[in-house]
């Protein structure tokens, strides 16, 4: 019995180590994109020590894993490419050409397509991943930013920062079907798990707009104001939602806080102090931890979701944009 326990103790890490080699799955590694230092910093999930510094093309921003987590796609704004990173090797193994200044994107592996918002091109590029060509350019409002794909992959939602619009785009046809006006400088999305609502951050008006997806119209909004802050400091950008659709976390940019929102009642439950210009936010798979990129703090704040407290802030590089976790 004791021997068995001992063996299990010894073998478990070896076994998981082998799993990493074979499938590169569930390493728990934390990837942070740094806009100004042109790299991804890979952090160990337990010690928060830097495991690897991956040089990328210039200005890496949004990141998405392939479904099997073997690849990580990274939009690099100043080189007009999406770098492809091999998650097992932790190095860049390929590139996809995009339109000018790609910022955020959505990935449809079934159709082998990438949908990229080109901040400076006022278009959404539809890219064929296998052929590495731009199949379509969908004209959008000026400075398109957030991109969210519907569950069935048929519709894309895109914000236009300058136009104060959310576009509904027919993914197959490649054209805007409908627009809805939201607050000033709309940035990013989260969809409620029931598929009914779309939440959009409006950076300059300091709000989250809630869009009824069936009617494609605004059904409500939430205004943020952490204690002691002025309205003008509140610049929401990133947001995530728990899988049960109960809680949303919204980064408030220059207000250096994350807002915790009860989704059904749309009530703000509290604010968590983080660093300056907090934008990117991501949740661990077990939803116990939140990771926030502080653009003007050059660090990432780790939050314990249960106690709603920041545990630690880890220096990562200049102007961190986003965080993803391989879990």
């Amino acid at each position: 019995m004791r021997l068995f326990a001992f063996l299990a103790f010894v073998l478990a890490p070896i076994a998981s180590g082998l799993a990493v080699q074979a499938h590169a799955k569930d390493t728990g590694l934390i990837f942070v994109s740094n806009e100004k230092t042109n790299n991804l910093i890979v952090l160990d999930p337990k010690t928060y020590k830097v495991v690897k510094d991956i040089k990328t093309s210039r200005r890496p921003r949004d990141m998405h894993f392939s479904a099997d987590r073997s690849k990580l796609y990274v939009a690099c704004g100043d080189d007009d490419v999406i770098d492809i990173i091999d998650v097992a090797k932790l190095e860049v193994v390929g590139k996809l050409a995009t339109g000018p200044s790609p910022e955020t994107f959505a990935l449809d592996e079934k159709r082998r397509r990438l949908y990229v918002a080109n901040e400076e091109g006022s278009t959404l590029s539809v890219i064929d991943i296998d052929q590495n060509i731009i199949v379509l350019e969908v004209p959008t409002g000026a400075e398109p930013e957030g991109v969210l794909m519907s569950e069935d992959g048929k519709i894309l939602y895109v914000t236009s920062e300058v136009g104060d619009l959310v576009h509904m785009v027919d993914a197959e046809g490649g054209h805007v079907v409908q627009d809805v006006v939201v607050g000033t400088r709309p940035r990013r999305f989260a969809a409620t798990p029931d598929g009914k609502e779309l939440w959009v951050t409006a950076e300059l008006s300091g709000e989250v707009y809630i869009i009824d997806r069936a009617k494609f119209s605004v059904s409500g909004k939430i205004e943020f104001l952490p204690p002691g802050m002025r309205k003008t400091d509140v610049t929401p950008v990133g947001l995530v939602m728990t899988r049960d659709g109960k809680t949303a976390y919204v980064t408030l940019g220059h207000a250096a806080h994350v807002a915790v929102v009860d989704v059904p009642s749309r009530k703000i439950q509290g604010y968590i102090l983080v660093g300056k210009r907090s934008w990117g936010i991501t949740m661990s798979r077990d939803e116990s931890k939140l990771y926030v990129a502080n653009g003007f703090g050059d660090d990432v704040t780790v939050i314990d979701a249960k106690s709603r407290k920041a545990i630690v802030s880890v220096p990562v590089g200049r102007i961190p944009w986003g965080v993803v976790i391989d879990d």
Partner: protein, 401 residues
């Protein structure tokens, strides 16, 4: 000859036919035209030259700024079902501005204008449009007298006033505890006005002018006490910075590194208060700069370009939020609840007392924005932007009363 004539009429008929088909296919949307009024030969756009034919600064009209604003409105045009347009109106002298605006209003129904004209065009224009349904965005004149004495309800000052600029500058100097200022004042009337604005700002924020030296540009050795920055700066009292007011610029460019004491230079050179600077990297500014550069053929976006751009943006935002192209609704929004994104932080709005657009001031060195005013720590009871320029109690203009 006959063939030629027939050819002409044939072509005309074809053209008319094509036009009527096009009209039948797409019913016209309401059109919202913004007039852009400029003066041919405006001396403010002559290049600033140094000795000989050395061009120190090219100065360009801010029309491209307005065009960028119009381009950005294209997607909204579809949603709002309103066509946005710009009409460039060029007159031959400042005196003709008033008639051109009245004529555009009467003949073509244009009610919104961007004004790119010297200060002398304002008074006759204000008289001509007083009480009428016209709104004019001032994009190029910083004169405080337009906000204080002219004080006309038909204007919106999109460009910051001179006082806002010197307030921003002194806020920054005060935040560094560089409170003692040596002033070099040029011979132009505008130089004296600039120094007056600085003195007001110094009083407001606790800085002081330790000496006010009038310089006389030139190389005459008999007047070296007046034309040599070293001699002008050789005074008994110490100072923290040298402030130069020199619209001609040729003297100002020789002040840095020529002062007796090693002191930074501000004002007309080195650290200048601006509405916009091409190196501003925050609040989405790089995208605005990049759109401007593309459209202007590589030029850097400057303060007046920004002002013309924001004027168009304010009109478009008003149409978006009121869902209308009606002038009364647009004006009410712009002058009232309207809040605008100028890509430099704090949301912009129009001051009800003098119609100055509230905005941040960028304190720019040639290759970097050193600070943005309001500088941290300068607070106001309602809006920190009102620490810059004329706040309601001190403004002699009372458009809201």
């Amino acid at each position: 000859m006959i063939r030629g004539v027939r050819g002409f009429f044939g072509a005309l008929a074809a053209l008319l036919g094509a036009a009527s088909i096009a009209a039948a296919q797409t019913p016209p949307q309401p059109r919202l035209t913004i007039g852009y009024v400029e003066v041919a030969g405006d001396p403010r756009y002559e290049p600033i030259t140094g000795f000989g034919r050395l061009v120190l600064k090219q100065r360009e009209r801010p029309f491209t700024g307005a065009q960028v604003g119009l381009d950005e409105a294209q997607a909204l045009s579809r949603v709002l079902k309103i066509d946005f347009a710009l009409e460039r109106i060029t007159v031959n002298s400042p005196a003709e501005v008033a008639a051109a605006v009245s004529q555009a209003r009467a003949a073509r129904g244009i009610q919104l204008f961007i004004l790119d004209a010297p200060v002398e065009a304002f008074r006759p224009l204000a008289d001509a449009i007083k009480g009428r349904d016209v709104l004019v965005f001032n994009a190029t004149a910083t004169d405080d007298t337009l906000r204080r004495d002219l004080c006309a309800a038909e204007f919106v000052h999109a460009l910051p006033s001179l006082a806002m600029g010197t307030d921003g500058l002194v806020q920054y100097l005060a935040s560094r505890k560089w409170n003692n200022l040596l002033v070099f004042e040029g011979p132009l009337p505008a130089d004296a006005v600039m120094v007056k604005a600085l003195e007001n700002s110094a009083k407001k924020f606790g800085a002081r002018v330790v000496a006010r030296q009038q310089f006389k540009p030139g190389t005459d050795p008999r007047e070296r006490e007046k034309n040599d920055p070293a001699l002008l700066s050789a005074i008994n009292r110490d100072y923290d910075v040298v402030f130069v007011a020199d619209h001609a610029f040729d003297f100002a460019r020789q002040v840095p590194y020529h002062t007796v004491r090693a002191r930074p230079v501000v004002g007309s050179i080195d650290l200048e208060p601006m509405a916009w600077h091409w190196t501003w990297e925050h609040n989405g500014a790089p995208q605005v700069n990049s759109r401007f550069q593309k459209l202007s053929g590589g030029r850097h976006m400057e303060s007046a370009d920004w002002a013309a751009w924001i004027a168009v943006k304010m009109v478009v935002q008003a149409a978006l939020r009121t869902r209308s192209a009606e002038f009364d609704k647009l004006r009410k929004f712009i002058l009232g609840e309207g809040s605008f994104d100028g890509n430099k932080g704090l949301a912009l709005s129009v001051r009800p007392w003098d119609h100055q657009l509230r905005q941040a001031i960028l304190l720019a060195a040639p290759y970097s924005v050193i600070a943005r005013a309001p500088v941290e720590g300068f607070l106001h009871k309602t809006n920190d932007l009102d620490t810059l320029g004329d706040d309601e109690p001190e403004s002699p203009c009372r458009l809201n009363r």
